[in-house]
């Protein structure tokens, strides 16, 4: 209950001002394609040099919270996920925007972000010591099985055909091997200098999601004058609350999945949204509506990616181990003030620690209020004529992929992957499974190599990967997931003719 004593500190004029600044700035930065939460926080670090420790952290914490939520804006309206966390948001969110329900989609996304986010921070406040042990429990073999669990999701994610889903997942897995392999330093498939550092995930995301859309919009613009404009339906905020209440299951699944996965160092944020989306699809009676603009999918994805924010800081705050790239940047923000995360932080600087955590709690709520306010305005983006829209999205795509690491190479990667994806989409493949392959490939590979090195020095491969409660549990879940997918595929047998398989 210690945290309550420090609530007052959040509301001093300077602190609260910084919180507002971080929240609003974070929403804007998050809504800009290419500026991932990690980038946004890194950009703000130099400003915290001049601030006191607690103030600096308030700014960084608020920015982290709201960039994750702000990423939903471009995911829904432009179909550009700002960060891997927002991939699942595009699936139903953008479909809703295309139906004219952009305002509703944005409102739902901010509301569910806030619910998930508040829950995640509460976990951080009350269960940190317990959770720290849990985060450490995941060694290489467990992370390997976790990545494999992610792979089992690939087939059923946003694809009419399991086979096509798996195929695009394989393309993603292959793309992930390009570049210097991180562990052994081997060079793989570097057929162009731009690929030396491998395929940057943000650049790939922008290309795979935005470019096919830009090409489609331009192509349509050639056929007619592009006057076809989507009418944006007004949507009362009360309606969004009601919709949330109707989808308690999605909120619950999203929040739970996000909190659990967010804890695991090195994996968390990237796949929380996708796994939550897939799980709520499997548990939903309306699973066929997923991908067509169904609020349930959007709610699950967004509550998950904000729920992960709090738990993702547990390894950093308790053990001084940054569990995600963003946490690593926050570590820099702490060190610059001479504060070492861990027992030092909570014992000697409780004011800093709790003011920071409290401000993330308040930040979630502020983020929701501002988000709801702009939702109606932002949704008007859909009224922009398609030809203009295409040009704007293309501009943002180039800007976003360049700014990731100030490299023109990433822009080439983005453009070529985008054009490839345009043709793949013509044949019924979709981008989400491909991206999941791209994310999971390196996690599975590096943990397998590391695990096998440890195993061969100790008790051998099979005992290392196949024994232990956590390993067996994860393997059981993997098997269950595969069986479930196979069962659903056989039961619903979606193809009745040759045309359907090709289409």
């Amino acid at each position: 209950m210690e945290f309550i004593y420090y609530f007052g500190d959040v509301f001093t004029p300077i602190n609260f001002g910084l919180l507002l600044l971080g929240t609003i700035g974070g929403l804007i930065l998050g809504a800009t394609p290419g500026l991932s939460p990690t980038m946004a926080v890194a950009l703000l670090i130099p400003f915290t040099f001049q601030l006191e420790a607690a103030q600096g952290l308030i700014l960084l914490g608020a920015a982290y919270t709201s960039t994750v939520a702000g990423g939903a804006v471009s995911a829904i309206l432009l179909k550009i996920p700002g960060a891997p966390a927002n991939i699942a948001t595009t699936l139903d969110g953008h479909a809703m925007a295309q139906k004219g329900e952009g305002a509703k989609a944005l409102q739902l996304s901010f509301l569910s972000s806030a619910v998930g986010g508040v829950f995640g921070v509460l976990l951080l406040i009350f269960l940190t010591p317990v959770l720290a042990k849990w985060a450490l429990a995941f060694g290489p073999s467990h992370l390997f099985w976790l990545a494999i669990l992610g792979v089992t999701v690939i087939g059923t994610l946003d694809s009419k055909s399991v086979v096509k889903g798996l195929l695009s997942g394989c393309i993603g897995l292959w793309l992930a091997t390009i570049g210097f392999d991180d562990i052994m330093g081997a060079q793989r498939f570097i057929f162009h200098p731009s690929l030396g550092g491998g395929i940057n995930i943000i650049a790939a995301l922008i290309g795979l999601f935005a470019i096919p859309q830009v090409i489609t919009m331009f192509a349509r613009g050639r056929r007619d004058d592009g006057a076809e404009v989507i009418e944006v339906q007004k949507h009362p905020i009360r309606g969004a609350f009601a919709e949330m209440m109707r989808n308690k299951r999605a909120v619950g699944i999203g929040t739970a999945v996000g909190s659990i996965i967010g804890l695991i160092p090195g994996v968390g944020g990237q796949i929380a949204g996708l796994v939550a989306y897939d799980q709520s699809k499997k548990f939903s009676p309306d699973r066929d509506k997923f991908g067509t603009g169904h609020p349930e999918g959007l709610i699950a994805a967004e509550s998950a990616n904000n729920a992960m924010v709090g738990p993702s800081l547990v390894p950093l705050l308790t053990l001084s181990i940054p569990g995600s790239p963003t946490a690593a940047v926050l570590l820099g923000g702490l060190l610059i003030h001479g504060i070492f995360p861990g027992t030092d932080l909570f014992d000697n600087h409780p004011d800093v620690a709790w003011t920071f955590i409290n401000s993330m709690l308040i930040g979630q709520i502020l983020m929701c209020i501002f988000g709801l306010y702009v939702a109606g305005l932002a949704a008007k983006v859909a009224r922009v004529p398609q030809s203009v829209m295409a040009a704007i999205v293309l501009g943002l795509a180039v800007f976003g992929s360049y700014s990731v690491q100030s490299s023109m190479g990433d822009v080439y990667v983005m453009a070529s992957l985008g054009v490839m994806m345009y043709f793949l989409e013509r044949f019924g493949f979709s981008a989400a499974p491909l991206v999941l392959g791209l994310i999971l490939g390196p996690i599975a590979e590096s943990n397998f190599i590391q695990g096998s090195m440890i195993a061969s020095a100790t008790d051998g491969l099979a005992p290392y990967f196949l024994s232990g409660t956590l390993n067996i549990f994860l393997i059981a879940v993997v098997v269950a997931s595969v069986l479930y997918s196979a069962y659903m595929e056989l039961r619903t047998r979606r193809y009745t003719s040759m045309e359907e398989i090709i289409g």
């Binding site: 290489p140 330093g185 160092p265 181990i321 610059i336 995360p341 030092d344 390196p442 590391q450 020095a457």
Partner: protein
């Protein structure tokens, strides 16, 4: 954002009057960029931002230095870029990590070697240390050596990757102790390697002194030895490896500093070499570095040139058999 700031700063420059163009006497006339070949928030990036924060002062360069991150492939992407694509006009600097880039150039597959760059000055030296979990049965370096000798290839030891300081230290330990360890490189750098030690995934680990210092303060690990010539000010009680009977010198110490691409005009190199070490000595810089647990070690251009040459020789010998 950074380019915007730089642009604004340049516009201000224009107002203060055009500088005369006689040689390099007026260098720098516009903001300078420094490439860091690791991601934002990493130790190198974090330190680079601190040591360059006073560049704009009149007694330093008089112009701000903006950090440009080009991460990827353990630093290879950034250094490839600096060696082949960066303009050698004095407005593009780079941060170096020794022994990383020298070791990588010896192993091949990159477009640079120590001859592709001109050092300016060194700001930090982060020695590698041997850590074990807080509840480990090992209490001294000798315990670890005894175990490794009794169980060849069974001592799992994590480190940040191949051909980085941690790996070099492991190789030197094996050579000095005539033993075989199981070096486990991790993806995700020193933090992931440290996590492996704390969680008990591995029996020991080689990590940066600065990170290990924090972990030891938090009570998560024991630091058994420092791979350096002298004990470190942060850890006065921890012996060096030599003291503990293992003949390991400072070849694995992670030196960080500033360099420029080859071909940068000599006048500019001389000017930078004269001002940058003084800039590192600024008390604000020293204070922030100390607060962050980052050991400073300022060296001039001549000292760095000698250090690079010595490292290259040691590393060539050490890596020859791999």
């Amino acid at each position: 954002m950074k380019t915007l700031l730089a642009g604004a700063a340049m516009a201000l420059m224009g107002l203060t009057g055009a500088a005369l163009a006689d040689g390099h006497a007026n260098y720098p006339e516009r903001p300078i960029m420094m490439m860091v070949s690791y991601g934002a928030g990493g130790a190198t990036d974090f330190q680079a931002r601190i040591v360059t924060m006073t560049a704009g002062n009149e007694d330093a360069l008089g112009m701000p230095i903006a950090i440009l991150n080009k991460p990827g492939a353990g630093g290879r992407v950034g250094w490839n870029w600096l060696a082949t694509q960066a303009e050698a006009d004095g407005y593009t600097l780079g941060a170096y990590n020794i022994p990383h880039f020298v070791a990588q150039s010896i192993k091949g597959g990159v477009q640079y070697s120590a001859d592709s760059f001109e050092p300016i000055a060194n700001w930090g030296a982060d020695p590698a240390v041997l850590v074990v979990g807080a509840d480990s049965e090992f209490n001294t370096l000798q315990d670890v050596v005894d175990f490794a000798k009794a169980n060849p290839g069974k001592l799992t030891t994590s480190g940040a990757g191949l051909f980085v300081g941690h790996h070099i230290a492991a190789l030197q330990m094996e050579k000095a102790g005539e033993m075989k360890m199981a070096y486990i490189p991790t993806k995700g750098g020193g933090a992931a390697a440290m996590k492996a030690v704390i969680a008990g995934d591995v029996m020991a680990g080689i990590n940066n002194l600065s990170d290990a210092f924090r972990a030891a303060q938090a009570g998560n690990v024991k630091i058994l030895a420092v791979a350096d010539l002298e004990r470190n000010a942060f850890l006065p009680d921890v012996p060096t490896m030599v003291e503990s009977g293992l003949d390991v010198d400072n070849s694995s110490v992670n030196f960080r500093g500033v360099m420029v691409p080859k071909g940068t005009p000599q006048g500019i190199i001389d000017k930078l070499a004269a001002t940058v070490p003084a800039m590192f000595e600024n008390s604000r810089v020293a204070g922030k570095m100390k607060a962050g647990g980052s050991p400073m070690h300022i060296m001039t251009r001549d000292e760095v040139l000698a250090m690079w040459a010595a490292r290259e020789e040691t590393l060539k010998e050490l890596l020859a058999g791999l």
